[in-house]
Symmetry: C2
Subunit: 418 residues, 2 copies
């Protein structure tokens, strides 16, 4: 197969399908989503069989346990997939929203209309549930999508794709609205991320190295997530009870997510009050502590933190702790070493909370709440295609709206420019 | 000079200045803008002298008349530059706007705050007024900026930069908030558009070839404008008087702007009624007509249009005309051959106007108005950094808001994730 020619064909079909999707009714899109959910429940057996084929191959290839775990489909994950699609069907349709209208002195009335982006390329790794999830979000937002899953999930992804196409056709929508790249050849990704005439945005989901590589090579704009080096700053005017509760939850609720705290900053005035009881909680949960010299004066058994620690996303039961002199030092540390993802202050002080809110340059900035809340569902988006650490277009949790854009619309009555 | 090292230094200083600009008060930013305007008026003589130096060099280098015209400063263009800055000072400050607040079941209150993008790189050609204009927009929107003007305007740009720095310092803002690249070496552009750690977005302003080259080589996101192949579709239910007025204005008001009509589409039912009187107007104004076979049946002296004509932005008194069977053919032609910039329908029909509005995939879609209205000032943005033909982040005329982003803000009372 000539990969370039094949991908150009996929792109051309996607572009054509995107026109039909852009004008598809809300009812048709919801009917497709529910039909896909029905088909997934109906054909659960076939999906499990296809998944078993992938699992056998993955085991034969010696893939590690974490990857096998992500690849595995079960009755429960299949039910969750179907339920996710029904939830997307129940969300309001963002497309066609109009607003911001104003009359101009020329007589024209200017406003904006929310529209799909067009064609979205999604590149992801082992999890086969992303196939249904991403397809669902793109259908609801009126986009066509080209999905490129991991080679490990090849059979399962093809089986899901078949059901997606069936659901689209049941609803009278073009089957090419959701296409799965049908070759495991790696060069297909290279084509996908450079076909600027056919693809409007790329959303990579997966490990940092995959995303960095795609961002480096893409010619199509990328909505991406790199590091999650999140901070909690405990101010000298913090409520100690809230501070300990939040610092505990932000680190230990779960260790792997991107919104988990990696560095704790504590104001010097309250460090002796806050750190010992907090360290006891962390120790009981098996969290390794790495501290600056002032931290180690208070917690002698903490390991000495290096410069590298402030820049590290552990994704593990490890926490770096720094004692800071004041709010300025805290904000400066966060803006310098953080990843502009999610950062929180714990304080009862009005002025300092306002300064933290404005001056911390992160996608999510919080007062007296756990960083773990930075999530599309917790924010009420109803669904999440990912979390963006970019600044343009979409920042932080990205829901349906992140897959749309706004065009200007002008209502006139024969006006001309003079 | 080691260009890479120099540009890294510029980038580092810009990043540091962007922190101060992000928290600068509205009053300080406005004070800077007005101080720069004052300094420009005060030092008009020095600016004219620097400009004369550039003009002499440009003439010696044999640059063409159009470029010399863009390069030339006059008392009037200097007054316009100063007035432009005062107008930017008078606009509302977009930074710090908060909204979309909602309480979530967890107890947290989630909303959004408008924030600067950070560091904006602007690359432009001969016009020295862009230096003041772009600096003004970036100051008001709380960004730091790195300006890279054309080599032809080198002395004049340096003279303007000196006044900008003076104005920033008068207002207590960092002088490095606006930096002009001080080397004519072309490789500085290559550095600017790839320093992802120091630059958040690139705005190229100039000819299509400059922009295409920058977009191809940039690693930093680019807000760009490529073609303006704009259409007017005259429907069979158009008011003939509005149709002729709009089709005349959209083509002949000015020939060079990107929002000027390049292709006229006319419904077959009304072609014989509309085209002859319209052709008479165009002929009187010296517009060359190129038509499809059906057009030439009605206008025998029109030149035969080729496939290439439908894809061409003439920027000249040339118009291609196509007779179409219906709305579907018109929309299909626009989405296929257009540049997704600005397209208008002339019709009195409610249903067809709604379909055109939704299905035409362009940054500006108009009903019964001239395409020439697609402009930041006409839309009421108060200022314009450019017009984007991209889909993500900013579409169509880009004002102050296009230089900003939104971050999520969370107000809590000690909430943790369970």
């Amino acid at each position: 197969m000539d990969i370039k020619q094949y991908m150009q064909g996929v792109g051309r079909d996607a572009r054509a399908a995107s026109r039909a999707m852009a004008k598809a009714s809300t009812g048709a899109k919801n009917a497709a989503l529910n039909a896909i959910a029905d088909a997934i429940v109906r054909d659960a057996g076939a999906l499990l069989a296809a998944n078993a084929q992938d699992m056998d191959q993955a085991r034969a290839d010696g893939l590690d346990a974490a990857l096998l775990d992500r690849l595995q489909l079960t009755d429960k994950t299949i039910a969750t997939m179907a339920e996710g699609l029904r939830q997307i069907a129940a969300l309001p349709d963002p497309i066609g929203n109009m607003g911001d209208f104003k009359y101009r002195p020329s007589g024209i009335q200017v406003g904006k209309m929310r529209v799909p982006l067009g064609v979205i390329g999604i590149i992801y790794e082992a999890r086969p549930n992303v196939t249904a999830d991403a397809a669902g979000l793109c259908i609801k937002s009126g986009n066509a999508t080209i999905l490129r899953g991991g080679r490990e999930a090849f059979h399962c992804n093809q089986a899901i794709a078949k059901l997606v196409k069936e659901g689209l056709e049941v609803a009278g929508l073009p089957a090419a609205a959701v296409q799965i790249v049908e070759t495991p050849d790696r060069s297909a990704v290279g084509e996908l991320i450079t076909m600027t005439e056919f693809v409007d945005v790329i959303v990579p989901r997966g490990g940092k190295s995959l995303i960095a590589r795609i961002a480096a090579d893409a010619r199509v704009p990328v909505i991406k997530h790199l590091d999650g080096i999140c901070h909690v700053y405990i101010d000298d005017e913090a409520d100690p009870e809230k501070a300990i509760r939040i610092a505990d939850n932000a680190k230990t609720h779960r260790y792997a997510p991107c919104n988990t705290m990696e560095t704790l900053l504590v104001n010097a005035t309250v460090a002796e009050l806050i750190l010992p009881p907090l360290a006891e909680i962390y120790r009981a949960k098996g969290v390794e502590l790495r501290g600056c010299p002032a931290t180690r004066d208070i917690l002698p058994d903490a390991i000495a933190a290096t410069e590298e620690d402030w820049r590290t996303e552990y994704l593990a039961p490890i926490l770096s702790i720094k004692v800071v002199a004041d709010l300025d030092e805290a904000i400066d540390h966060i803006n310098t070493y953080g990843s502009h993802h999610t950062d929180a202050i714990v304080t009862e002080n009005y002025t300092k909370s306002r300064r933290f809110l404005r001056e911390v340059d992160s996608a999510s900035v919080m007062i007296n709440a756990s960083t773990r809340f930075a999530d599309g569902f917790e924010y009420g988006l109803g669904a999440e295609i990912g979390i963006s650490t970019d600044k343009i277009h979409a920042r932080g949790p990205v829901g349906l709206e992140g897959l749309t854009s706004e065009k200007w619309i002008v209502f006139g009555d024969g006006e001309i420019r003079v």
